[in-house]
């Protein structure tokens, strides 16, 4: 019985953590490419979910089509944001980037609230997968969908990164922007595209959440902080670290909630951030992360 509960918690933790992993990975992709942390990224996640909601519920479009529209729109948003709002202030202090990304997130949240007010929106279920039984442990349909879609996205992402020419370009810019520019990579275009990709990856997380949770305009903040926690835990700036950190965080939340107190689910992420940065700032898989004076 005890063992069954434990495995059950691990499974639901991995499912939840898969979402965090996706958010953390999309933050990392942008951070590595442009050295900017997108503090409005949680609102990109929210925007992805709301666009899907709008097309499915209001216009009666099938979910898959709505998902493609949401991804395209969010890619365009990320691209346009980098080109129009981030690039012009490149010379400014990094505090300006933080404010700019927060401000854009604020606009997105305001638009969502103006349209839907302060109510929470339920969306019809999309992936009604049958649960799988392994022994006496149940894997719910939602968990399968979460883990499946995230695994697929990660597979595609890492395949592109390590096995294609595009991926080589990305790796080159991650290593040295100047070096990449010298061998003919269009770094300016790269920055905009990587922002678009980051936004679209955030939207995938939103798309997964949309059919299974209640939607409200402020849902992004939770995922932003958990994304940060996952990044910190895995090692800030490490791509695989973001994934590992996300899944560990999801599992830790479930275990803490079940065995210690449900109150702790909310603060697991904060505790992880504080503990990791104070005790081991490089995280699990990170490299040099600290400036010492």
């Amino acid at each position: 019985m005890e063992a069954r509960l434990f495995y059950q918690l691990i499974i639901s933790g991995i499912a939840q953590g898969a979402i965090y992993a996706l958010v953390a990975l999309s933050l990392t992709v942008v951070y590595r490419g442009t050295t900017i942390v997108n503090f409005g990224h949680g609102d990109f996640v929210m925007a992805g979910a709301f666009v899907a909601y709008a097309f499915v519920v209001l216009y009666g479009v099938p979910f898959v089509v709505a998902a493609v529209i949401a991804l395209a729109l969010l890619f365009a948003l990320g691209f346009a944001m980098e080109r129009g709002l981030i690039e012009p202030i490149k010379a400014g202090p990094h505090i300006s980037f933080a404010m700019m990304t927060i401000a854009v997130g604020y606009v997105l949240r305001g638009i969502a609230r103006a349209e839907w007010g302060r109510e929470v929106l339920p969306m019809p279920r999309v992936f009604d997968l049958p649960p799988i039984f392994i022994g006496n442990v149940v894997i719910t349909g939602d968990a399968i969908a979460f883990i499946g879609v995230v695994a697929l996205s990660l597979g595609v992402f890492f395949l592109v990164l390590y096995a294609t020419r595009t991926g080589q370009i990305v790796q080159a810019v991650y290593q040295s922007e100047r070096g990449a520019a010298l061998v003919g990579v269009n770094v300016r275009a790269f920055h905009s595209v990587i922002w678009g990709v980051g936004a679209a990856m955030g939207a995938v997380a939103g798309l997964l959440l949309a059919p299974v949770t209640l939607l409200y305009p402020d849902l992004g903040a939770n995922f932003l902080i958990r994304g940060f926690a996952a990044m910190t835990l895995g090692g800030f700036g490490s791509l695989s670290g973001a994934v590992v950190g996300g899944i560990l965080l999801g599992v830790a939340e479930q275990l803490l909630g079940a065995y210690v107190s449900t109150k702790l689910i909310d603060i697991a992420a904060y505790l992880v951030i504080i503990a990791v940065l104070v005790l081991r700032p490089t995280g699990l898989l990170g490299r040099i992360a600290v400036v010492r004076v």
Binding site: Y31, V37, F39, L85, P88, I89, G92, P93, H94, I95, S96, A98, M99, M100, I102, A103, V104, G105, Y106, V107, L108, R109, G110, I111, A112, R113, A114, E115, G117, R118, P217, A221, I225, F228, A229, T232, F236, K263, D266, I267, A269, Y270, L271, I273, I274, L277, V278, P281, A289, V290, V291, R292, V293
Partner: protein, 329 residues
Amino acid sequence: MKRDFKTRWLGSRAILDSRVFYFLPLLALFVPLLTNPYTQFVINLMLVYVLIAVGFNIVLGNLGQLAFTSTTCFGIGAYTTAIAMASLTLPFWIALLAGAAMGALAGLFASITALRGIRLYYLAIITLAFGELMRWVYIHADAVTRGTDGLPLPPAAFFGLSIDSEIKRFYLFLAITTLMVKGTSNLLRSRIGRAVVAIKDNEFATASLGIPTAHYIVLAFVWSGLVIGIAGGMFALLIGRVVPESFDLTALIFHFAMVMAGGLGNLAGSVLGAMLLTTMPEFLRSFPGIEEALFGILLVIVILLRPSGLASLLAGHLPMFRQRFYRER
């Protein structure tokens, strides 16, 4: 040396222009003649926010650290003041000092993380997490804070004078805010302020000049926490009931926006930014969502077109602001 009338009173800008700023609090003394209780409340709130912006700007603008400490210090200041008055039945001024001290302590903690080498986005994330953790504590330590219901304050008195109307609060707040802003302004123009700005520009070079950078980093965080802690105590008195959601991420964004809109590292700008952003939502309150979107768009425009803040707009047109602006930038 002969100094004629013109050089003494008009030619020497420094004397004429800086004196203008001494008249502002004097002019403000007459504000209650023009207000009703609600507008007076908004103006009192403005005085609280001026302190937050001025305090937050020390860390963000002058020291150049991306540390989101404002809601933490603000909340700790507010709760300390409220608990000291409600549970320990201390008089308001002692409770306010306690709030200031606890705010400064929160600043000290933040500075320790910064000194341990947690900088830039790491500092942003750890301070963000700490602020949210504190909010969780306010909600769940209901024995002391009464959780989400909020902690009500008993009627306050200041040395025997009861502070029971918005106008009385206004005069008290005006005195405190003027004192703290002037104090901060003096601090920033002293050796300490110059050291802090030097650390922002180049920490290694500053250290190599023999300036103890660690001391000044701690000092900047502590002073910032102190100023914001006082603002927290004033806020508790003004609202009359301290609730956890006053210190959430939205509040943090609002504080950040006041500093950015006014101008990073610009004290006059922070005062201006706080005044503008406190009054703006009052006109838009009836449109949920639109208000937020407009606020965001305004911020985007300011950062894009006026990266040095709205104070630089004034500096272009009013000589006394130009003087301040270029000196304190």
